[in-house]
């Protein structure tokens, strides 16, 4: 399964190794790991999602990347629920013959995930809870893939 949405943490080394396990035609693996940043006294981050849509949306983004670059393997893991500062939130791993495709596809998947996959972050701070606002810069990041 290329896409997982789960509360549980994941094993970074095992997920990265699995991208090329049992094959010798892969020359490059690019990975992205997103963490909960503990800015401004953040106590925890809660991630809500739209269960019926989330995996479908992520699979659609992966399919777009696979149509655009020659990729041998793709893995996307996004955690949901309550996470603490420093915890892992998201993993994207992409395997290809050459590094350009791996780097670009990894960035493409993250840019689309940020703006098209139905996740919402809520911050818990000592002053109370607040929903994180979407950033215009995330939407603008898509322009480079047009």
């Amino acid at each position: 399964m290329a896409v997982s949405v789960q509360h549980e943490d994941f094993d970074l080394a095992a997920e990265t190794a699995a991208l090329s396990a049992g094959r010798s035609d892969i020359g490059a693996i690019a990975t992205f790991l997103g963490l909960v940043r503990g800015d401004g006294g953040l106590v925890a981050m809660s991630l809500e999602h739209y269960p019926a849509m989330t995996e479908k949306a992520l699979a659609g983004i992966v399919a777009q990347a696979e149509a655009r670059w020659p990729l041998q393997a793709v893995r996307v893991i996004h955690r949901v629920g309550r996470l603490l500062p420093g915890e892992r939130i998201v993993f994207v791993g992409v395997a290809s013959s050459h590094r350009a495709a791996a780097f670009e596809a990894c960035a493409f998947i993250m840019d689309y995930l940020k703006t098209r996959a139905p996740f919402w972050k809520k911050e818990e701070t000592p002053e109370g809870a607040r929903w994180v606002d979407a950033r215009d810069s995330d939407e603008a990041a898509l322009a480079r893939w047009a």
Partner: protein, 85 residues
């Protein structure tokens, strides 16, 4: 046939509603944008769906536009711009 409407994140909290089912599409409502206008017309907290508010929609679990057509049996979701990753 009925239509199911889901609300997420800050919109769900503002409306005090996560999910509702209409027995059928309201008369004259044929698009996602039309349904949004119909819901907004309920007034009060439902003005969170007003045209000047940043609200996204999905029809049958795919992102939709205001002009996206609706049919009986659809699942429609409204939510704020996403903030995952």
């Amino acid at each position: 046939m009925s239509v199911k409407i889901l609300y997420f994140a800050s919109l769900r909290e503002t409306l005090g509603c996560a999910e509702e089912t209409l027995e059928s599409l309201p008369a004259g409502v044929t698009t996602a944008g039309g349904l949004r206008e119909w819901l907004c017309a309920r007034g009060g907290d439902w003005s969170a769906l007003a045209p000047d508010k940043a609200v996204r929609a999905a029809v049958n679990q795919s992102l939709a536009q205001a002009a996206s057509p609706l049919a009986e049996g659809d699942e429609i979701a409204f939510f704020p711009p996403v903030t995952g990753g």
